[in-house]
């Protein structure tokens, strides 16, 4: 595949096209979009975590002036549609699919019970208070212990709260543990938190009864898949539905998955015969959009005396919440499959049990399963170094996968078998570069030092970031009659600067100027099929599709030009938006009477693996348990950068999200399954004053062999090892007390409690 384009824009810090509208307040996010005559939808949500629905009486609500309809499960026949899985659609998970409206039982606080349609959102909210709901409460299942006890079961026919076990294997773990000189065994826990993008979700749906067509605004991430699910649920042809992507205020894995509202709002529009608009509010978002992480990791690591890691084995328990959502398996299975990370660990037997509980269902959040697993692994490596009396950098160097070992296979996961291998990389070079840039040797003197009432500590760790999930992506290029280029793309934008990045690739591959290019993406109207943005895939997949399409388009342009210039197409050259044959030339503008169009598809079965190393310097105030981050450095090799400006932004943003998950963010439930963090005053996210000292360096050492761009999916990486590295730095700072954090978040009360317990133990 030698389609690598001439390099002028690719690799340049091109300022973004999107910014021009966003900075002026001229973006169109879904809540900015309205249709004439629209009704507003508001959703009645279960106040109970677990119970049997006895009665829903909507008569008082329907009588309120301004209310047009109240829709309940009864409006959808004997059994309302259930939402299928998008990823790992195993038949054994079918019992756990979420119904679009609670059906017979409610299983989490926030589960939709009814939809009110009214003239204004305010009136619809007034009506919520007039709906009489009777739920016979059942005991809530809120943690592993109550899930395993099984005296209260979410899905009775299934017989237990265990949904499925994932198993990752490589080599012979049992034998490795027999051979081991040293074995460590620990239990880790990563708390429930979530993507929490800033623009809440929303939809506007319009049903045209005459043409029997549906149009939905507010699509994101995976519009084509969601259209398929919606079409099935509504009994429509896929082609009868248009899904339109507007500006999107952040996704991070969570936005754009098929949620109940993805069905309810279009269905409401069809029932009401009028356009319907729904804007999620933040309270709903906190209890309805996918939660993430919430996993207990019990793992053993086997080592040889010289520090080589011989094997990993263990069992993890994922608290998946009340239903298996579209991508609810990804995190749990990744924890099992990716525990070895960038290290050469030949013998693995790791399992994850997915448990159902009466909490909001979970899904992916940036670095799904990887943030979790890296916390456990990097902690274990530091603990192993301590036990073996080894240097923490040395033990990592000893175990990193070497360039010569590439491609390096990871553990294989079952069921829904997936085999994958690390594609390329010089892990050692990046590791050493990070230590050097961080000033590891100089900062080593700080370890455990008490300065102005704070104990200082440092840590380093490495990670991999999988990207470029297949199977394929489409691009359609159209050379318009005015000589400009329109790029239609299946990839979707979630705030990552897609328009700019894709225009850069298109401009380079067509040798056109940047401002002659328009990128249209994410909506089903643009290409026949699209797969969207997840798994750090849009740049690699969409970008590669553009490269392929550009070759085709150039060919077609030569053909057109040849006809006009009366020569053979092989004699036509293209440069500077002009076609030439000998001394005659034609500009792109007016080359054809019609736009010249091509469509191309990039197929990819192999993932890319970007990789990197991060290091942290922290200090701990033992009086308050507060941890300050003095320096945080990430060095990552992404193979090839399209836009260093946006990539740097992704890296820093991702690290700060990781710091949020490490220190601040926690979705808390009580024993009755009530969510206690129901506002942004309680769910704490990083602010501008929390983490001022973050650095990121991006390298282009080893291009991916798996795509013509050589790019590796990046965009999640930064977040992945943050929890583990910070916890190690805290342990390093408090080594005199022997504090070893095993749980996140490292909130001041938790750190203080560890210090307090260690002091008591010493006494």
């Amino acid at each position: 595949m030698n389609t690598r384009p001439g390099n002028s824009l690719i690799g340049s810090p091109v300022e973004r096209v999107e910014d021009l509208r966003f900075l002026r307040g001229k973006g169109t996010y879904v809540s900015d979009f309205s249709l004439p005559n629209q009704l507003h939808a508001v959703i009645l949500r279960s106040p109970e975590a677990h119970g049997v629905i006895r009665r829903i009486d909507t008569s008082r609500a329907r009588a309120l002036p301004g209310v047009h309809a109240v829709i309940t499960a009864a409006d959808f026949g004997a059994r309302p549609p259930h939402i299928p899985l998008r990823l790992q659609p195993l038949p054994e998970l079918a019992p756990f699919h979420q119904p679009v409206l609670a059906f017979e039982k409610v299983r989490y606080v926030g589960e939709p019970l009814a939809v009110v349609l009214a003239d204004t959102a305010s009136i619809a909210e007034d009506a919520l208070e007039l709906i009489d709901v009777e739920i016979a409460a059942l005991p809530a299942v809120t943690d592993r212990a109550s899930a395993e006890r099984g005296d209260s079961i979410l899905f009775e026919p299934h017989g237990s709260n265990r949904a499925l076990v994932w198993t990752a294997t490589r080599g012979d773990a049992e034998a490795a543990f027999v051979k081991a000189d040293v074995v460590l065994k620990e239990r880790f826990h990563i708390q429930r938190h979530a993507a929490m993008f800033m623009e809440p979700r929303g939809f506007v749906a319009d049903w045209n009864a005459e043409t029997q067509r549906l149009k939905v605004w507010g699509a994101a991430k995976v519009a084509w898949t969601n259209r398929r699910i919606l079409a099935t649920a509504m009994g429509l042809e896929e082609t009868a539905i248009d899904m339109v992507e507007l500006d999107v205020g952040g996704g991070f894995g969570s936005r754009g998955e098929f949620y109940p509202e993805d069905f309810l709002i279009p269905a409401a529009a069809r029932i009401a015969g009028r356009p319907v608009k729904w804007s999620e509010d933040r309270r709903e978002h906190l209890m309805c959009a996918n939660h993430a992480r919430d996993i207990e990791i019990n793992v053993e690591m086997a080592l040889a005396k010289d520090g080589r890691i011989l094997g990993l084995r263990g069992m993890c328990y994922s608290d998946n919440g009340a239903y298996l959502r579209t991508n609810g398996s990804v995190g749990p299975r990744n924890v099992a499959q990716f525990m070895s990370g960038p290290y050469k660990i030949e013998n693995i037997h790791l399992q994850t049990t997915m448990l159902t509980t009466n909490k909001t269902p979970s899904g992916t959040y940036r670095g799904p399963g990887r943030f979790e697993t890296d916390f456990a692994r990097e902690r274990l490596i530091d603990l192993a170094a301590k036990k073996l009396g080894m240097d923490r950098a040395e033990i990592r160097r000893k175990n990193l996968v070497a360039d010569a070992d590439m491609p390096y296979p990871l553990a294989t996961i079952q069921p829904f078998e997936s085999v994958t291998e690390l594609d390329s990389g010089d892990y050692h070079a990046v590791f050493d570069r990070c230590l050097k840039e961080f000033g590891w040797d100089e900062k080593s003197a700080l370890q455990g030092k008490l300065i102005d009432g704070r104990y200082h500590g440092i840590a380093v760790g490495s990670f991999i970031e999988g990207g470029a999930a297949g199977p394929k992506e489409d691009a359609r290029l159209a050379l318009e009659t005015d000589g400009s280029l329109t790029v239609h793309l299946g990839s979707s934008a979630v705030g990552q600067g897609l328009e700019t990045i894709m225009a850069q690739i298109a401009a380079d591959s067509m040798e056109m100027s940047f401002d002659r290019i328009r990128v249209l993406h994410g909506s089903t109207t643009h290409v026949t099929e699209g797969y969207g943005s997840y798994h750090s895939r849009s740049t690699v997949m969409g970008g590669s599709a553009i490269l392929l399409a550009a070759e085709k388009l150039k060919d077609k342009i030569r053909e057109c030009a040849a006809a006009r210039l009366g020569c053979s197409k092989d004699d036509v050259t293209i440069d500077a938006e002009t076609v030439r044959f000998k001394t005659t030339s034609l500009t792109f503008a007016g080359l054809g009477a019609e736009p010249i169009e091509v469509e191309a598809t990039f197929y990819n079965k192999k993932y890319t693996y970007a990789y990197g190393t991060q290091a942290a310097h922290v200090s701990v105030d033992v009086g308050t348990g507060h941890v300050r981050v003095h320096d945080y450095l990430s060095v990552e090799d992404v193979g090839r950068m399209i836009n260093p400006l946006t990539l740097h932004g992704q890296a820093i943003g991702s690290i700060v999200q990781g710091l949020g998950g490490t220190f601040l963010e926690h979705l808390v439930y009580d024993a009755n399954g009530q969510i206690l963090t129901g506002s942004l005053a309680d769910y704490l996210m990083p602010t501008a004053s929390d983490f001022p000292n973050i650095r990121s360096i991006t390298l282009e050492l080893k291009p991916s062999p798996n795509n013509p761009l050589g790019a590796k999916g990046a965009g999640e990486g930064g977040i992945i090892p943050v929890g583990g590295i910070i916890a190690n730095a805290v342990a390093n700072a408090l080594s005199h007390l022997g504090v070893e954090p095993m749980e996140l978040p490292l909130s001041p009360p938790r750190v203080w409690a560890l210090i307090d317990a260690a002091r008591r133990a010493k006494r």
Binding site: L23, G25, G27, V494, G649, Q650, Q657
Partner: protein, 163 residues
């Protein structure tokens, strides 16, 4: 004094006199977005924490979700649209673009209005002050570093003498 459930309010938005018939319960944010049609003011939480809805009321930055529209009667309100023109980006906006201080752009209007209010009053604000002031505006995408740099870099345009 009569208490009202709905009211015709008259106020100045971005230098223009406007009026709207609003319910007493309507927030200024919703009024600006849906009655006046200025959707640049974003609503990220409706309970005063995220700062996306920040507008400038009589010269001072304020959260428009924590004001009733009726409270704006007779006042002067500036939104992100009022801090923009079609010809070129303002120096503050250009600085945001240069520093890649926005990704999804949802928090951006609140950042621009807040930073504008700050630099108008305190053109010499230092990094700590900028971080302090911006701590009331959540951004999930950027990690803030580029935003702080952008605001610091824009100070000259507000008459900062430099550090």
């Amino acid at each position: 004094m009569i208490a009202v459930t709905t009211m015709k309010i008259e106020f100045e938005v971005n230098g223009k006199a406007v009026s709207a018939d609003v319910e007493a319960r309507t927030t200024l944010a919703d009024c600006l977005r849906y009655d006046i049609g200025l959707t640049g003011t974003h609503v990220g939480c409706e309970h005063g924490v995220c700062g996306a809805c920040t507008v400038i009321v009589n010269g001072a930055a304020a959260r428009s979700c924590l004001m009733l529209a009726v409270q704006a009667d007779g006042e002067k309100v500036t939104t992100v649209e009022g801090l923009s023109n079609d010809e070129a980006l303002t120096p503050l906006q250009a600085s945001f673009r240069k520093h890649h201080a926005l990704q999804c752009g949802f928090c951006t209007p609140g950042m621009i209005t807040t930073a504008h209010a700050l630099l108008t009053h305190e053109p010499n604000a230092d990094e700590e002050r900028v971080r302090d002031v911006l701590s009331g505006n959540l951004c999930r995408c950027t990690g803030y570093i580029s935003i702080v740099e952008a605001v610091l870099d824009a100070r000259v345009a507000y008459g900062s003498k430099g550090e």
